[in-house]
């Protein structure tokens, strides 16, 4: 449905994105993850035809975003980071106007507008002026605007920003519900959002794609070594030395050593090994107290930080 090949975009001397390529299948929900300024918005703006790319091609539903921009725009619903609403119109008037310029036929316009309002839960504010609405409602009007012409592709730039927790959950459920009939690309820098709503994640950093997979695969693939957190009561030096000698242990780091004799350690071993029994036995045999022993799962957050930091090291 969406096909991006070697896309680059410069703003003067600044390279906002460099050689980005990815594909999105029909009905998929894909998350764009990246720190602020990574190039998420730029990529989305190119896909929606707002700005042209410096080089590379992008196709939406088989149409080139540059050459057949109007055809692409007909098929895209786009919500920019700041909802593009006219403050001096009522919600009804505004959505009606958007439906008109999106080419929704006059006969079905009213029902389409009602449908979109119902989907995002703003039916009760139809007669209100947009300038009198709260940020959360404006955000939802912005979302309704993207949905009103029932587009094949939805591009949402930080769709949950500025919403309260209840609304965030509602919007996420809504987006999940769109999978199948619509293809969705959403950008965010909130990590749990991606693992909750998206089937696939594209991590962008400094204008480049650094990883692309399902959230589960990403965490599994990049987790690498098994890690265990231990809390032991005993002399710090002796404990680390003894544990280091346990076969299979690759690395031990002391996270915290309070004066009270308790130390917290992180033990790393190669992927697929489970050293919990060995470690526990060693500690107990030496007469120390084992207070805690648990495996650490690498969260998406860790993966993200891992990738982003790695990238920084390469750049330096």
């Amino acid at each position: 449905m969406i096909e991006v090949k070697h896309l680059s975009r410069n703003f003067g001397a600044v390279q906002a994105i460099q050689d980005i390529s990815f594909e999105v299948q029909k009905g998929e929900i894909v998350g764009f993850l990246g720190p602020n300024g990574a190039g998420k918005t730029t990529t989305m703006r190119i896909l929606t035809g707002y700005i042209p790319a410096t080089s590379g091609t992008a196709k939406v539903a088989g149409f080139d975003v540059q050459e057949q921009s109007l055809e692409v725009r007909k098929r895209i619903g786009y919500m920019p980071e700041n909802p593009p609403v006219y403050a001096d119109m009522t919600v009804d008037q505004y959505l009606n106007f958007v439906a008109k310029i999106k080419g929704v036929d006059g006969k079905v316009r009213k029902s389409k507008v009602d449908e979109a309002m119902e989907k995002v839960g703003i039916t009760d504010v139809g007669k209100r002026l947009i300038k009198h609405l709260s940020k959360g409602y404006r955000q939802r009007v912005g979302l309704a605007q993207a949905l009103v012409h029932d587009p094949e592709v939805l591009i949402l730039d930080e769709p949950t920003i500025g919403l309260d927790p209840k609304q965030i959950r509602e919007v996420r459920t809504l987006i999940k519900g769109l999978a199948g009939q619509h293809t969705v690309i959403l950008s965010t820098h909130i990590l749990p959002e991606v693992s909750m709503t998206c089937q696939r994640v594209i991590i962008i950093n400094k204008g480049k794609v650094v990883a692309e997979d399902t959230p589960d695969n990403l965490t599994a693939r990049l987790a690498g070594n098994e890690r265990l957190v231990m809390e032991v009561e005993g002399p710090a030096d002796a404990v680390t030395q003894t544990l280091q000698a346990v076969p299979g242990v690759q690395n031990i780091s002391v996270d915290r050593a309070n004066g009270d004799g308790r130390i917290q350690l992180t033990v790393e071993s190669s992927a697929g090994t489970d050293l919990r029994k060995e470690l526990a036995r060693t500690v107990v045999n030496n007469g120390w107290g084992l207070l805690e022993l648990r495996p650490v799962e690498m969260s998406l957050e860790d993966v993200f930080l891992h990738l982003v930091t790695e990238e920084e090291e390469v750049a330096n």
């Binding site: 700005i51 042209p52 109007l70 786009y78 909802p83 310029i101």
Partner: protein, 262 residues
């Protein structure tokens, strides 16, 4: 066509939903009304004095031409007032959308940049037409109490329409350059003033340069309309001025796209 109509409708509604249209119309009518009163009372006084003089010398009272002595200066005044008020009409057209980000909606919807531009321009023309139409009330008074010629009035209004259209086209252009409405209005005003007054220096430069400068003067071309002469060369001048303004607007929008600026 439907896209153009949708943009036009929204812009016109937005004018009349906000106080802007009413404020501009009110002050335009108020200032023109005051000047109409002053010009007319001056004219009445002059014709009264002329009649009395004629009676003293036992001559026929002279027929003073209301078209020449009242309407023509009035049309010139209105052309000047439009110079002050029309930058306020166009300043928001692009600047406001850039500031609030709604331009992103228009530029990612299946409408062309020229449809958006022409919709906005036509909306400004509609508001200006309302302003002009309301001043026509003043002319009706002249018809009640006198016998002015209709022809020169109509040609004068055609001239005002074209002149104002030129102001609006460049107002649209300056609005497309910035997201600050004050800057848009101020630069429009300065630009039009320059092209208004450019003919004044013709006395100080060589004759050939002077003629060129005079040709570019916006107001120079208006005088014939006020006199009742509709000359195609003036129409062509104003239309090309309008075309130039719209063309520059189009270029500026395209350039903003390529630069990725708002």
């Amino acid at each position: 066509m439907r896209n153009f109509a949708a943009i036009l409708e929204r812009e016109v509604k937005s004018y009349f939903l906000s106080p802007l249209a009413y404020v501009v119309i009110f002050f335009f009518l108020a200032v023109s009304g005051i000047f109409f009163y002053l010009i007319l009372s001056n004219f009445v006084e002059m014709s009264l004095r002329a009649t009395m003089q004629a009676q003293m010398y036992r001559m026929m009272p002279p027929k003073l031409n209301v078209n020449m002595m009242a309407i023509r200066p009035m049309l010139h005044n209105m052309a000047l007032f439009a110079l002050f008020f029309l930058p306020l009409v166009t300043m928001k057209l692009y600047a406001e959308e850039k500031k609030t980000g709604t331009i992103e909606l228009l530029m990612t919807s299946p409408v062309t940049d020229s449809q958006v531009m022409l919709g906005k321009y036509t909306a400004a023309l509609v508001l200006y037409t309302v302003m002009l139409a309301l001043t026509f009330v003043y002319m009706i008074f002249l018809f009640i109490y006198g016998k002015p010629e209709l022809g020169p009035i109509l040609s004068g209004y055609l001239g005002l329409f074209l002149l104002g259209g030129a102001y609006l086209a460049f107002g649209l252009f300056f609005s497309s350059l910035t997201e600050n409405q004050i800057i848009a209005a101020a630069s429009t005003f300065a630009f039009i003033l320059l092209f208004w007054a450019i003919g004044w220096v013709s006395g100080f430069v060589s004759a050939s340069v002077g003629r060129v400068l005079e040709y570019f003067s916006l107001i120079e071309h208006f005088d014939d309309f006020a006199k009742g002469v509709i000359d195609t060369k003036h129409i062509v001048f104003y239309l090309s001025f309008i075309f130039m303004g719209l063309f520059l607007t189009y270029i500026s929008i395209q350039s903003a796209r390529w630069r990725g600026a708002k």
